[in-house]
């Protein structure tokens, strides 16, 4: 057992050596390029002769885009953009440049804590009779938990994703998420927004502690929200005039909720089925929350409710019907059929009703993300809408629309270069820039 648990550590160290080598090699290349420039000047790139899809404006067939210091400096038709003398020119004929895609809900870089299986009866009774502790951590910063890995970063680059939300994934009050730019493996340098939102999931507690049922969970969330409102009011009164007022008892849990419930920072509700959406909307209305719904792969069934509110959705491309779904209760064949034919039409149906949404790869591997995106497109999702739902729409939901989501001067240089149209079935992402850092993914033999 012990040996096995060490093995990943060894390979991890090996990888670290490799990762150290890459910046060294990069530095070498850059030095030779900028031999005449002052050492402080960071690299500039000029991508020339490429097709530009800025998202915020119509495509430019033959364009140039200049990247400097990790930001987009300029872009436009080839004849209108002057190449800076210090820029490394990247010939990109035949390539299309898009803003990097954003997956606004992932659990990347989180270590899966596997529970040890009890081996003996004593062990079993031991785990079963342990006093269960609630799995509630609204104060948890997922940023502190993540261990970015270059390999993961690169595998998402290959499907065009350059920024992600990493959300916590345990308990009802799960903790607070972070927005990362996939520019390497150093967490501090990756942060785009920390913390972003409080994440809440309609799940239950385990081990026989409250709440152990879905209705208990809803009541638990409501009670905590009411407690938070009261706690904040008490604190406010106490701060303004502490005489003749008993001081509020410090509460770490409620303390963590105040910014979200009282100060209206974003709260993300994970909606695993159509009824979760209605549950979340009732809570949002009751407490006037600044909320976002995530998951939502059955959202089209609650479209009448969503039409009445302007709550943005992070719609996963995971098409597996939820456990509550009628399609999940008619046997394997019916479930598979629904997964292949019914759930992929979700996003298209929502957009038909002008529901604001971003698409995410929540719950998916990078290969399923691409495969399922294709399925959504076949099910009626328009390519332009899909592109927006993976770029500017998530940027807006994250409050990062001035930095991310389109190709515009002044924005962060998150670009992807593809051979062929982004949503073509044989399209490959061949180059990626994140924060202006170039990653090459040329096909073999080229």
């Amino acid at each position: 057992m012990k040996k096995e648990s060490r093995r990943p550590c060894l390979s991890g160290q090996r990888k670290k050596w490799l990762l150290l080598l890459i910046p060294l090699m990069l530095a070498g290349v850059l030095n030779s390029l900028a031999a005449l420039a002052v050492a402080e000047v960071k690299p500039a790139y000029a991508l020339v002769n490429c097709r530009l899809v800025p998202v915020s404006s119509p495509p430019i067939e033959k364009g140039t885009i200049i990247v400097r210091d990790g930001l987009i400096e300029a872009l436009g038709p080839a004849d209108r953009i002057k190449l800076p003398p210090d820029a490394e020119v990247i010939e990109a004929a035949g390539l299309t440049v898009y803003p990097g895609l954003i997956s606004a809900h992932t659990n990347l870089f989180l270590e899966v804590k596997e529970q040890e299986q009890p081996q003996t009866t004593e062990d079993f009774l031991g785990t079963y009779t342990q006093a269960a502790t609630p799995q509630q951590f609204p104060e948890l910063q997922v940023f502190k938990e993540i261990k970015p890995k270059k390999q993961t970063v690169e595998s998402w680059h290959r499907v065009g994703v350059t920024a992600v939300v990493v959300a916590p994934n345990r308990g009802i009050f799960q903790g607070q998420s972070v927005v990362l730019n996939l520019n390497g493996d150093r967490a501090n340098q990756m942060v785009l927004k920390q913390p972003w939102a409080l994440h809440i999931n309609f799940t239950t507690e385990r081990g026989g502690i409250y709440p152990s049922s879905l209705m208990g969970t809803v009541a638990f969330i409501r009670q905590k929200f009411y407690d938070t409102v009261h706690y904040a009011l008490h604190q406010k009164k106490y701060l303004s005039s502490p005489q003749f007022l008993k001081r509020p008892e410090y509460d770490l849990f409620l303390e963590a909720l105040v910014p979200f419930v009282v100060d209206k920072r974003p709260v993300v509700f994970q909606c695993n089925n159509q009824e979760d959406i209605k549950r979340a909307l009732r809570l949002i209305d009751e407490f006037k929350l600044n909320a976002v719904l995530t998951g939502c792969n059955e959202a089209w069934r609650a479209v009448e409710h969503l039409k009445k509110v302007r709550v943005p959705l992070l719609v996963t491309l995971d098409f597996r019907p939820p456990a509550t779904s009628i399609y999940n209760q008619q046997g394997e064949a019916a479930r598979k059929k629904a997964e292949a034919e019914i759930y992929p039409a979700n996003a298209a149906a929502l957009l038909k009703e002008n529901i604001p949404l971003a698409l995410t790869g929540f719950g998916l591997s990078e290969s399923s993300f691409v495969k399922n995106l294709q399925a959504a497109l076949r099910a009626g999702l328009l390519p332009e809408a899909a592109l927006r739902a993976l770029t500017i729409e998530p940027a807006r939901i994250l409050g990062l629309e001035r930095q991310l989501g389109t190709l515009e001067p002044g924005k962060i240089a998150n670009l992807i270069l593809t051979r062929g149209d982004l949503f073509g079935e044989k399209t490959r992402v061949v180059k990626v820039l994140v924060d202006g850092i170039l990653f090459n993914y040329e096909e073999k033999g080229q």
């Binding site: 009779t129 409250y210 709440p211 209705m215 409501r222 009670q223 407690d227 009261h230 009011l233 009824e275």
Partner: protein, 436 residues
């Protein structure tokens, strides 16, 4: 008796056929049912009778009725038309049954966890059931707020809820709440209460807390609206648990109390008198026959099984004559299924009451008008009368016969279950499969 059992394979086949085309079955809420033997429940039977439904409401009941052109006509000669069956105690169409971790959980509300995709809804329809009182389980003393649903298969959850019904709160006493039948694991403390005295005491304790809570809020409101409110006046903390219990004490909620033995029921009646709360009905109430005077004096009805007694110690003194005897004594009795399977043959359960002394007409009331009265919806449903909602079920034989079956179930004038059509579709599907 709180866990729904698995649906039969037969029903699953029906679902697979109905899931897609569910909406095709629906008419527009306008119907003319012709030449049926109508059992209105609240009036004498009508042979060869017609029922005209407009916009989901029963407009006319009689003979030789005509309908506006375009109205769907259902020929029902030789068949029996009854009001839709109402099940006063089930746990179907829910994503959760018990918040069993604590003894007192009135803050939970079953309306929060309706699952309109539960195939048990179709199971219920196949037995002529159009409305159910779907409840919190009996794992703890004060469970949660229940909800009444119509079995509108294929409709979104909010369209199922019957808002006119009494709001009810689940209580439970006896073996389930004292966890008599639960294996205790070493190292795990037993949950309080572990006795019937404890169950009674914890209810009193919680209701006293609720009284204090109400008084606290009253004091606050008084101070707040006074001429010179204190500068540092802080409202009391909102406590959802005590909010629900306050509503019970204010008479806004009805208690529905799971109880088996006579003594615990009498004790609960005393609690209700002491605290001034209303009891909707006792659930299961196997020993109700011993305390009919007390029940009559309190005006409290019972929702019971017909003849499945002695499945545990506290049911040992149950008798199959309970429902019939209590009915004859003048107590409001309904028969419930408490099961996602038995719900499709609730008419058989009621029919057994004929063996124990009721007339077929009296037996039919146990699952129609009596149930509607217990849920507070008797002015809307529960009988075939002009002005009521057209929740109807069509049977091929007298519904209290052992040989009967439900052929058609209608809610508010819309057909939600059509046996013949389903069987044809099933045959067609089988033929297609065979062709492949």
């Amino acid at each position: 008796m709180k866990k729904p059992t698995r649906t039969s394979i037969f029903i699953l086949v029906l679902i697979s056929l109905l899931a897609g085309p569910a909406n095709r079955l629906l008419a527009a809420g306008n119907l003319l049912i012709k030449n049926a033997t109508i059992l209105p429940v609240t009036g004498p039977p009508i042979n060869g009778g017609d029922v005209l439904v407009i916009d989901g409401i029963i407009k006319q009941v009689g003979r030789n009725l005509t309908a506006p052109p375009g109205t769907r006509i259902i020929e029902a000669s030789g068949k029996y038309l009854i009001p839709g069956i109402i099940d006063t105690h089930t746990h179907l169409a829910l994503s959760g049954t018990n918040e069993g971790t604590e003894a007192i959980t009135p803050e939970v509300n079953m309306a929060e966890v309706i699952n309109p995709d539960d195939p048990a809804i179709l199971t219920a329809l196949s037995g002529g059931v159009t409305m159910v009182h779907t409840m919190h389980g009996s794992a703890n003393v004060i469970g949660g707020v229940n909800v009444v649903l119509k079995m509108k298969w294929g409709q979104p959850s909010e369209k199922l809820v019957v808002r006119e019904a009494y709001p009810t709160l689940k209580f439970a006493l006896g073996e389930n709440v004292k966890q008599s039948n639960r294996m205790l694991l070493p190292g795990r403390p037993q949950r309080y209460p572990a006795t019937r005295m404890g169950a009674n005491a914890i209810i009193r304790r919680e209701l006293l807390r609720a009284r204090d809570y109400m008084a606290e809020w009253e004091r606050y409101e008084k101070l707040r609206s006074s001429k010179n409110p204190p500068p540092n006046l802080l409202p009391p903390k909102k406590d959802l648990r005590l909010e629900t219990l306050s509503d019970l004490l204010r008479g806004k909620l009805y208690a529905r109390c799971h109880a088996y033995v006579a003594t615990e029921m009498v004790e609960f009646l005393n609690l209700a008198r002491e605290f001034g709360f209303k009891i909707g009905a006792f659930e299961h109430a196997w020993e109700a026959y011993k305390i009919t005077d007390e029940l009559l004096a309190a005006g409290v009805g019972i929702s019971v099984f017909i003849d499945s007694w002695a499945y545990k110690m506290e049911a040992a003194e149950g008798i199959a004559y309970n429902a019939a005897y209590c009915t004859k004594r003048g107590i409001l009795v309904s028969i419930n299924s408490d099961s996602s399977e038995r719900v499709r043959r609730l008419f058989n359960e009621a029919g057994k009451a004929v063996k124990y002394g009721l007339t077929p007409d009296e037996a039919l009331k146990l699952i129609t008008i009596n149930a509607a009265r217990q849920l507070g919806v008797d002015r809307l449903v529960g009988s075939i009368e002009v002005g009521k909602q057209a929740d109807l079920a069509l049977f091929n034989e007298h519904p209290m016969s052992a040989y009967t079956r439900c052929d058609l179930t209608i809610i508010e004038g819309e057909v939600y279950f059509d046996r013949e059509k389903l069987l044809l579709e099933r045959e067609a599907a089988a033929a297609r499969k065979g062709g492949n």
